[in-house]
């Protein structure tokens, strides 16, 4: 059976709302409009306006109200129409949600989920195209998840809603309509994925590629191309940005001795930079080539289609980076 990411998210919300009356969803256009991206479609009819709450355009306000409700013991799911708008509310995500359990020595847990599309969409310009994985991933107290497939979306969202800590759940608009095969196990209402565990999407022995969200798709495509040229790439879908599954990454690098990281976000202080540091700290002696990061270009997202394409990692970029990692000296000649 096939399922789109949108259906996966919708069914996960539906099941968790039906399982726990404390779960509610709040955000702009989640109710009568059926969700700006239709993730909450049908939920208003099923659960009513007390549990599917349309807010005014007021991110700082409703993110704060959500955190307050979580202090009280409810389990809010706060939808940002896109994560770009979460900047209006980042104080509540960091200062009010992530730190409270610590500051109160465990009295004030915050079981809340902040979710919505993250990263570059298509042709929406700089203020609507940015990856926040590294931003939220750097903050202790938060858990940060980034699903790729329908299985990820279902399993991770259900895990996030059940989790007692604040979770930032980074979806991708361009994946909402993508279909993935799903097993009976994934479709079961008890299905849930562990937070903090990466998934090896494709095994290989020559090079490790780490990626998340839409870049998993690109990395798998790159691995396919590379396979034809005799390079067996191991593709790791991170799933969880924080906690980061350092052991899976390092185990893979110790096997392949080469690493390429892929993400849409900026290079400086990015997820790839962190993975690179982790591998240098824990598996330095296993590396046979420098680690290479494939990231979004270090610029605000341009609008023009040709420039936008250049600003976001492409399958070819991954292929070339992997080749550089595998045949280092030839790459030097190639660059020169």
């Amino acid at each position: 059976k096939e399922m789109t990411v949108r259906e996966a998210l919708n069914s996960a919300l539906d099941e968790e709302m039906s399982a726990d009356p404390k779960v509610f969803i709040m955000g702009e256009e989640v109710g009568e409009y059926q969700g700006a991206y239709k993730i909450s479609k049908g939920l208003l009819d099923k659960y009513g306006p007390e549990r599917v709450i349309d807010t005014p355009i007021t991110e700082a306000g409703f993110a704060g109200i959500g955190v307050g409700a979580a202090y009280y013991g409810l389990r809010p799911v706060i939808e940002f129409m896109t994560f770009n708008f979460s900047m209006q509310a980042i104080d509540h995500i960091i200062n009010s949600a992530a730190k409270s359990n610590y500051m109160s020595a465990g009295q004030m847990s915050v079981p809340i989920v902040f979710r919505g599309p993250n990263g570059a969409a298509a042709g929406v310009g700089a203020q609507h195209s940015q990856c926040y994985a590294a931003w939220y991933g750097s903050c202790p107290g938060l858990k940060v998840l980034a699903p790729y497939s329908a299985e990820d979306a279902r399993g991770l969202l259900k895990a996030a809603i059940r989790d007692p800590d604040p979770v930032v759940f980074l979806e991708n608009e361009l994946l909402y309509g993508s279909s993935f095969p799903v097993s009976a196990e994934v479709l079961d209402s008890s299905f849930c994925l562990p937070i903090g565990k990466a998934k090896i999407e494709r095994e290989g022995k020559d090079v490790t590629i780490t990626c998340f969200s839409r870049m998993v798709d690109y990395s798998l495509q790159a691995a396919e191309i590379l396979a034809k040229e005799g390079i067996k790439a191991e593709v790791i879908n991170l799933r969880s940005i924080r906690p980061l599954d350092r052991s899976t990454i390092n185990a893979s690098v110790r096997k392949t001795n080469r690493l390429v990281t892929v993400e849409e976000g900026y290079p400086q202080h990015g997820v790839g930079a962190e993975i690179c540091a982790s591998v240098l700290e824990d598996s330095f002696e296993y590396l046979d080539a420098p680690v290479e990061r494939i990231c979004g270009a270090d610029v605000p997202m341009p609008y023009a289609a040709n420039l936008e394409r250049m600003a976001v990692p492409q399958v070819d970029d991954i292929v070339r980076a992997v080749k550089r990692a595998c045949y280092r000296s030839s790459s030097l000649a190639a660059t020169a």
Binding site: P56, G61, S104
Partner: protein
Amino acid sequence: ASSDPITVETTLPFIPHNIDPPSRAVETTPQELLAFYRDMAVMRRMEIVADTLYKSKLIRGFCHLYDGQEAVAVGMEAATTRKDAIITAYRDHCIYLARGGTLFEAFSELMGRKDGCSKGKGGSMHFYNKPERFYGGHGIVGAQVPLGCGLAFAQKYSKEENVTFVLYGDGASNQGQLFEALNMAALWSLPAILVCENNKYGMGTAGWRASKSSTYYKKGDYVPGLKVDGMDALAVKQACKFAKDHAIKNGPIILEMDTYRYHGHSMSDPGSTYRTRDEISGIRQERDPIERIRKVILSYNLANEKELKDTEKEARKEVDDAVAKAKESPSPDPSELFTNVYVKDLGLEVPFHFQFDLPPLEVYASQFEILIDIAYFCRYLEWIGKRLEQCFHDSKQLQASEIA
């Protein structure tokens, strides 16, 4: 003291906005008045002692004192049950105390000790007593207002007939998110009572310099409001009772508590550059909240001067004993550094070098350091070897290409 009701008139009238004000005749009891006196004396003493402890460097960082504003804490507490929630900003010591917190835990927290109400991990601005529904203790000016409206949201969601008191200052009243939260609270009729403690200064900026409208009780526009003499615990109690009834039936309301802080904004502020000493001493003489209750007690013959003096002495002793005990409390155990980041401490990321500093291994720490150094040195040698090999390889290639 007896619990027979007596009725006392508030010193000043309530000034309403879009609502009929409550009666100025406040029902109270001798018992309650003596408790007000005692509790405020303890609070006053607590803050004075905190000042001393700060100056002797036993309290670090930020420390915001509440002396002058005690009537708000006790009056509000008298009008609520512990099913009602309270949330405030960083000037939180006395609200915590009013909500059933202990002096010992408060002073332990102030000094960063393990017996603190947040095990020494919160500090002055982050006191909580969740079982008694005191939700902190928040350091970002104004952020507690949406949070408080969220508590009220949860109360309504859970179909409870309780309210949340959301405290903020005249400074925070200019924050955008206050209006965002108030808008939603009004749209959804949340049982939220916004209590603006107008102590006249946002840090060192006088209200009139920061707020185009200094009628804080009117700032909700479509939300009704009430200006209250915040130096009169009885007026505060009356207003909070009134607001509670209103909020459960109709949604949010703003209470502006006209009050004053004697201390500077925080310990780095002597509190004398932006206001005159005469202003402070004038308020002390004319409007002091403890004096106000003392006068009521004496005029109704509920206690004599000596008995009130004894109460003050008891308060002093209680505070001093708590401080002495708190000073004995040890610093938090190093292992507490990494606890409570997450509820189950799962997914906790302990940096590599910290793993060796945790208690069970502490004894061996020095030996470990040597081992780690050796390990790193070996890695380094290995790395140099690899680099040399690489250079050799590259130069061979280079030669080959040059020849070609």
